[in-house]
Symmetry: C2
Subunit: 192 residues, 2 copies
């Protein structure tokens, strides 16, 4: 492999390992050394890519969030129609279950107590949130020039985040599915 490709591969291994580590062990258990070992990379190489612990973990959550956004758009390569809405809502909620959400939640929880981490994570959350909102508007075919539509989509994403939280300690898939069916219908009425 050319040197540049090897460097990119190392970086991506570190990012994936960082998200997995954060999801499994939380912020307190996630250090650059632990991640480097998990990725099979020397500590020096890890620090070359990410000088600080904050750099590594915010970059990791952002990287995986971007991957998931890309995957979400790819689910509907031809765009969506009004009768895809239940599937779109379900795909949006899937963003908030699974390892990325677990990792992001650990980062948020740590950022709420650590001054060094908070501005970084706040900025990251705003960026990822805007992108998710944009995708949701597109895939739902929502016309934000109509009053209330913007807030309708925002509320849906807040609900998705809350459903993610409800899934943190137990498998909440059955209940979640019933809630989604009901709220997708309410959303459909609201969006017209």
């Amino acid at each position: 492999m050319p040197k540049q490709d090897r460097s990119r591969a190392t970086r991506q291994r570190l990012l994936a390992a960082a998200v997995a580590c954060l999801a499994e062990h939380g912020w307190a258990g996630s250090t650059v050394s632990v991640v480097a070992e998990r990725a099979g990379v020397s500590r020096g190489a890890a620090q070359h890519h990410f000088p600080t612990r904050e750099d590594l973990f915010t970059a990791a959550v952002e990287y995986v969030a971007e991957e998931r956004s890309t995957a979400l758009r790819a689910l509907f390569p031809q765009g969506t129609a009004a009768d895809d809405r239940r599937a779109v809502v379900s795909a949006l909620v899937d963003l908030y279950t699974g390892p990325l959400f677990r990792a992001a939640l650990q980062l948020w929880a740590a950022a709420s107590n650590e001054e060094q981490l908070r501005p970084r994570v706040t900025e990251l959350e705003a960026r990822v949130g805007r992108e998710t909102h944009r995708i949701a508007v597109d895939l739902l075919g929502a016309d934000e020039s109509r009053p209330g539509v913007r807030e309708t989509v925002q509320g849906l994403l807040d609900m998705a985040r809350g459903l993610g939280l409800a899934n943190l300690l137990t498998d909440d898939a059955g209940r979640r599915d019933r809630v989604l069916t009901q709220w997708a219908a309410l959303l459909d009425d609201a969006l017209g």
Copy 2:
């Protein structure tokens, strides 16, 4: 003060201190010693009331959740009418902003990685969740015998939890208020 009252006062001081400590410092920074000092109680006395760290913090989150449930019911001493719904939704969402939610979130985040804590917090969350659902159904005047109504109320509480998460790192009150206004109207249509 009689001995029993003094013991109860000590217990309540410990519980309040434990919630504040968890909200401010997270699980990693929350030990029985730190809480005892904050409450002005000896470590021995704290351990007399709560033999383990898990006992102290789950009891604390439960105690404050009960207090908040009682306060929520007390907001509407005469019961509610259909035109109180916007106020009810707002009061329900208020359960998920502020120090109790911060503390509960830190406990959930820790429980997702700590085997010792998880069953305790899972059980606590289920209990508190059922009680909140019951209050929401009452105050919203929701008729759960109608299809979809149960899931409508559940989804609203999921949204409330998600709005709490969005408020963790920044003051999200302005956006939250606009989302609530919109979804309270949709909810009103749904509940009839």
